[in-house]
Amino acid sequence: MRYQVTINGKARKLDADPEMPLLWVLRDELGMPGTKYGCGAGLCGACTVHVDGVATRACQTPVGSIGKAKVTTIEAIGDTPVGAKVQQAWLDLDVMQCGYCQAGQIMSATALLAENPKPSDADIDAAMAGNICRCATYTRIRQAIRQAAGASAETHHAG
């Protein structure tokens, strides 16, 4: 079937099975591999994108279900003020190890802060528990979210 979907503010035309998950439309049809495949079952969060601002697992979102909703991916999240702040905090705190999950982490963190600009530690854990970081950089993920929220990070960069 032919579709027009709005991704990162641009109308993209494509011809795909309506059941094809958005993840594979992005990766293999539109050449946008920033959104990652981890589990294909909504369990790891590596494929998190925003659909109308809501953190959404692209691997569980059939392209046929998107309609007129606006999709934002890691490639463009830096164009939003919150997304840019989150990306910068990730770099300031040198959050990542392998980095594979971090696109999904940044997308979840940005959705959290867009909705809740001053999250508590419990809010952070609740919002981020769907995103696996196999390198377990969770300590710095928390710190980076706090920093992006304007709170001073608990420990120094090296800590």
Binding site: K36, Y37, G38, C39, E75, D94, I132, C133, A136
Partner: protein
């Protein structure tokens, strides 16, 4: 089929050569990839350093990046000795080319100890050439010149020149023998020791394509590779014609392989325009496999065999000191316990994948591999392509943990590509493929016996270890060494071993063997300490005694140093102070601390975990204190603290979440993160990390912080509840008090 026993020395063969830095002679040929990247205008001073006329410095990162930070850390070492500013430096990833770079692998936490000297020398050799070139131009002795921030200075005449202006001339000079050059005094380091962010991170936060899975080539097809769910099964037939009719499918082809898991195994490849479509087409694929006798293996069967083996004396001794049986009989008090733990899986978040192009008899591979050279050998052998005709690009890896020491996926991608000459093929495994076709951390069983004298001193120690093996040799990662703590510290001691067969491929998982042995030995020693009326730190300090170096283990071409009791004492005493350790509590109150110490991968780690346990047995880690000794210098503190915390949380995940790979009818039962859990953010407590700097060469941090967290956690659970966890996978019922 049995997993081939690739012992660690398999991938250390090449690395041993580079251990002393001899392979990294400064006059070696230059790295092809970098020469291309740096452009014709840049002067190549050696295989690692290129300097352009405008002063831009390009440094080659030699090893695969799996998240351990090596692509940042090794170039930092070169840059500091080269005496340039870090922001002048651009990093390029090397191709896999042992002739130029020596060993290029990510494993065993070896990169730091193996490269600390050679990388400093590479920087110093290049710096010396630049200094001599400048001095010659000025007509002054090189000894009067100094360097800093990418410039050569001559103080006496007040002259100064940028590296870029002398680089072309420097490149024509004969490199000095590295041994004759004086390396920097650590107090003069400007980059080493400074927290430095990952060099790829700015691209990663923007989602730019950088991982193996992101590889895209013109005209590329996507592929899956269906292999037998029962390890060792052989292909008989498949409905390839029906699969070929599925939407998006370009081709379906059966591929014959061999009997070695870390090689090419039989399978069916489905290729097409989009990975989701080819994976969906797999639902229509019907393959008939010949399972041979492999379907007889099961988790329940292993447990039965282990019980039978433990009822008999150990089949062989790994180490025997004195007369442990007599010493046990003579003991005033004895302690016995059995421990067991399951198979585990690496679960890298980026599933196995690899891209390959076969054209004109040559194979070009884009591989997220921890051991690219070993992959080249496997591909060459499986497909009959000479090694010289295989090019391997090392692509950033979305998690290794030892899984990508094996190159089965590389052999598969290359085999599929060979079926499609001229067409690039990207093979990607589904999460289910990845979970069910691993090289698993082997399970194991231990029967411990210990004897104490009247004064509560440990006088006898026995371990009967039941593991997996073939032809009298343990499978990969299923071995125990003769230096396992407390060996060498108890006069009458035996480590015995019995083995059974399995068809599951086994492998090295982050801190291999140590991730299991730390749990069982340090937990049992906590039982021994309690029987002796003391706490575990006290028992360990007694065993360590005076500072001295214990004998190590011999690897071909490389001696692995044994435990230094003084360094062990240092971290034990420091973590006791740091955590305000109070000794063994007098009552089980549901909240307590536990301690453990472990030496692995040349690193000394003592850790304390504070837990609370609910009446229902839900365990919550409240805080962790970690003290490590990895030598005199933390090269990149930002990466170092991150590695240590990550390793500790990885250990918590292995301990607390009930993760286990189980097998029925020869096949793995787990499939995805719902039935094979890994740690998430909500189990992570505050973790305090401290490095004790000692006058020893720097060593690696990818692994050694992991092992002790597991026994420290369960020793804490025991102190909190009075319930000893002797069997993993953990279930809350084991420690419920309600």
């Amino acid at each position: 089929m049995q997993a081939e026993t690739l012992d660690r020395r398999g991938f250390l063969k090449v690395s041993a050569l580079a251990g002393g830095g001899l392979m990294l002679s400064a006059s070696l040929p230059l790295g092809g990839a970098m020469a291309k990247e740096a452009g014709a205008a840049a002067a190549m001073l050696n295989a690692y350093v290129a300097i352009a006329a405008d002063g831009a410095v390009t440094i080659t990162a030699k090893n695969p990046e799996i998240g351990q930070g090596i692509k940042t850390m090794l170039p930092m070492i070169i840059a500091d000795e080269l005496d340039v500013d870090w922001d002048q430096v651009k990093i390029e990833q090397a191709l896999s080319n042992p002739a130029i770079y020596g060993a290029q692998f990510a494993g065993g936490s070896f990169a730091t100890p193996m490269n600390w000297d050679p990388m400093r020398q590479m920087g110093a050799v290049a710096r010396d050439m630049l200094v001599r070139a400048a001095a010659e131009g000025w007509g002054v002795p090189a000894s009067e010149c100094t360097t800093g921030s990418g410039k050569v200075r001559h103080q006496a005449s007040g002259r100064e020149i940028g590296y870029g202006a002398v680089a072309a001339k420097a490149a024509t000079l004969k490199p000095a023998d590295p041994a004759t050059l004086k390396l920097k005094d650590p107090k003069d380091y400007k980059i080493i020791g400074k927290p430095t962010g990952g060099v790829d991170s700015p691209r990663i936060v923007k989602g730019q394509p950088i991982f193996g899975i992101d590889t895209v080539l013109p005209g590329m097809l996507h592929a899956i590779y269906e292999t037998c769910p029962v390890f060792g099964g052989k292909f008989k037939s498949a409905n390839l014609d029906a699969v070929m009719k599925q939407p998006g499918v370009t081709r379906a082809v059966a591929i014959r392989g061999g009997d070695v898991a870390d090689g090419l195994v039989d399978g069916v490849a489905i290729l097409g325009s989009n990975w989701w479509l080819v994976n969906k087409a797999r639902e229509t694929l019907k393959v008939e496999w010949d399972h041979g006798d492999n379907a007889r293996h099961s988790t329940a069967g292993y447990a039965e065999q282990a019980a039978q083996l433990l009822a008999k004396p150990a089949a062989a001794d790994v180490r025997r000191d004195g007369d442990p049986e007599a010493a046990l009989k003579k003991a005033a008090k004895t302690v016995t316990a059995r421990y067991e733990y399951p198979f585990l899986h690496h679960s890298t978040l980026e599933p196995q994948n690899c891209t390959a192009l076969y054209k004109d008899g040559k194979m070009e591979i884009w591989a997220p591999s921890q051991t690219p050279q070993s992959g080249r050998e496997i591909v060459s052998k499986a497909l009959g392509i000479p090694q010289e005709a295989i090019t391997i690009h090392m692509i950033r890896i979305g998690g290794g943990f030892g899984r990508r020491l094996m190159n089965d996926y590389m052999a598969q991608a290359a085999a599929i590509a060979k079926e499609m000459p001229g067409t690039p093929v990207k093979l990607l495994w589904s999460r289910e493929d990845d979970t069910r076709h691993g090289f698993y951390r082997p399970g194991g069983w231990h029967e411990f016996r210990a004897g104490l004298d009247k004064k509560g001193r440990l006088t006898a120690f026995a371990d009967h270890f039941v593991t997996f093996g073939k032809d009298g040799k343990p499978l990969t990662g299923a071995n125990i060494g003769p230096t396992e703590f407390p060996a060498g510290l108890v006069s009458d001691l035996v480590i015995g071993q019995s083995m059974m067969a399995s068809n599951l491929p086994t492998g090295f998982m982050r801190a291999p063997t140590s991730n299991a042995f730390a749990y069982v030995f340090q937990s049992f020693l906590d039982e021994v300490a309690e029987a002796a009326g003391k706490d575990l730190p006290t028992l360990i300090l007694e065993l360590l005694g005076e500072p001295r170096q214990l004998p190590g283990m011999e690897f071909p071409g490389r001696k692995m140093p044994g435990l230094h009791t003084g360094r062990a004492r240092g971290v034990v005493e420091r973590v006791v102070a740091l955590s305000s350790w109070q000794g063994r509590p007098s009552a089980h109150t549901g909240r307590a601390k536990g301690f453990a110490f472990y030496f692995s991968h040349l690193g000394y780690f003592a850790e304390v975990v504070d837990v609370s346990v609910s009446p229902e047995g839900e365990v919550k880690p409240e805080k962790i204190w970690i003290v490590g000794d990895v030598g005199s210098q933390i090269i990149n503190p930002s990466g170092a603290y991150n590695q240590v915390r990550g390793a500790a949380i990885d250990g918590l995940g292995q301990s607390l979440l009930g993760a286990a790979v189980t097998q029925a009818d020869g096949r793995v039962e787990q499939s995805n993160f719902h039935d094979y859990p890994v740690p998430r953010i909500d189990i992570v407590p505050p973790i305090e990390v401290e490095f004790l700097k000692t006058d020893n060469p720097p060593t690696g941090l990818g692994e050694p912080a992991l092992p002790p967290v597991i026994p420290a956690l369960f020793n804490a659970v025991y102190a909190a509840t009075g319930k000893r966890v002797r069997s993993l996978p953990f279930q809350p019922e084991m420690v419920a008090t309600a």
